[in-house]
């Protein structure tokens, strides 16, 4: 009986996923994907991972959804019918995918006992540093090197997107995010919501030290507010040649690296912090990272430059 909600959620996720893959229209598929993302964030809460649930809702459903919807709008309304595939090929692929699923299901149904865990190690780090949220401790202290490299990946992805700018437009601004029927309600929302959203974003970052929340979630909320303002056409996307923009993009990784190298002098090695200074350093790094994440996510959605610099 207590499994009923979980079972219903699982069924909904799978139905939405099948819809996403089988929908004829491209836009329907994207909407299906957004639904899957939102349902998955509920699943993450049921798996006791509230931090991940927040990230999935903000990035997996929200930001990716906006990116894909925008791509749909630029690709035009209709899905061209591609090569019609033979039924035998479909069946073969179906069988192969089922084999993969059965193999994975076997791993799920017959897990190794006792389950491997790094929780005790992470808990030990928590005590040392004095933060209350174990996930933040793992992200910024115990496995900080992963987080640092991930930030570098984000910067590289942005460079990759910008590199797709056609030569004559280099340095210009990304295409306008203005909604097709930009109008009163959207403008109103974009004027009322950002102050509240910025407070919530900062709250998530600040709160992330001890409770669910953190840099990624807060940064994404900040990015969402910026995108909302751009969609309502209150501000245009900035030109990608602007030095301020580029400095904001690398601010997070640079502060993280400086804090990491400082570890050689003030503690015992790269990315290690002295216990009494750990919390202030982590909060400083998180603030810088969140700002960079907000700018990078916003510019990733905006895409390569589509207008020549003025």
């Amino acid at each position: 009986m207590s499994l009923l909600p979980d079972f219903a959620l699982m069924l909904l996720i799978l139905i939405a996923a099948v819809w996403t893959v089988s929908a004829r229209d491209r836009r329907d598929s994207v909407i299906g994907f957004i639904v899957v993302g939102l349902l998955l964030s509920l699943a993450w809460i049921r798996l006791n991972s509230v931090d991940v649930a927040l990230t999935e809702a903000a990035v997996g459903g929200g930001a990716t959804g906006l990116l894909l919807l925008r791509a749909c709008a630029r690709l035009g309304p209709n899905e061209t019918e591609g090569v019609s595939l033979k039924v035998s090929l479909r069946i073969l692929t179906g069988v192969l995918c089922t084999v993969v699923a059965v193999a994975l299901a076997t791993i799920v149904l017959y897990p190794i006992e006792p389950a491997p865990t790094l929780a005790p190690t992470a808990a030990a780090h928590m005590g040392e540093i004095g933060l209350g949220n174990p996930v933040t401790v793992v992200l910024l202290a115990y496995r900080a090197i992963d987080t640092l490299l991930e930030k570098v990946v984000l910067v590289l992805a942005l460079i990759g997107v910008w590199a797709l700018t056609p030569d004559p437009l280099w340095g210009g601004a990304p295409g306008s995010l203005r909604a097709q029927h930009s109008s009163g309600p959207l403008t109103f929302l974009a004027q009322v919501l950002p102050p509240v959203g910025i407070v919530i974003g900062v709250y998530l970052i600040w709160n992330g030290a001890d409770r669910p929340g953190g840099t990624f979630q807060g940064g994404t909320v900040l990015a969402a507010m910026w995108l909302l303002v751009m969609m309502a056409d209150l501000r245009e996307p900035p030109e990608i040649r602007l030095h301020t923009l580029r400095r904001l993009v690398v601010l997070g990784p640079v502060v993280f690296l400086v804090a990491g190298f400082a570890g050689f002098w003030i503690a015992n090695g790269f990315l290690s912090y002295p216990p009494d200074l750990a919390k202030p350093i982590i909060v400083l790094v998180e603030a810088a990272l969140a700002l960079s994440i907000a700018v990078i996510l916003g510019m990733l959605v905006a895409g390569p430059a589509a207008r020549a610099p003025r």
Partner: protein, 111 residues
């Protein structure tokens, strides 16, 4: 008796299979990107199941896989952004036969 964690594990395997099917069979690149993201979400949920099973030391779930998934979701988004930008550039330069021709890459407003 199957617990709720196992149930989500099975859900994840379903997502992986559905995503894989779409990735292999869909001719349209954008649909492939979406299917790949479904596959990724399934993989992330498997991490969540591992985290839930690794609950110890007074924590509700093992934080290490959770942190990896948070990193993974953000990296998946970045990869999707690059893929979509590549795809749009390819279509706009007339290189693809599977997507319809897109509007002019120049923005519609005079600059």
């Amino acid at each position: 008796m199957i617990g709720s964690t196992t149930l989500y594990g099975l859900c994840a395997t379903g997502l992986v299979a559905i995503g894989l099917y779409g990735l292999v069979l869909h001719p349209s690149p954008l649909r492939k990107v979406i299917a790949f993201n479904l596959l990724g979400s399934g993989t992330f949920i498997l991490f969540g199941v591992a985290a839930q099973r690794g609950a110890a030391a007074g924590l509700l779930a093992d934080p290490v896989p959770q942190a990896m998934v948070i990193t993974g979701i953000v990296v998946a988004f970045a990869a999707t952004a690059v893929a979509v930008a590549l795809l749009l550039r390819l279509v706009e330069s007339g290189g693809s036969t599977l997507e319809p021709s897109a509007p002019d890459p120049q923005d519609d407003r005079p600059s």
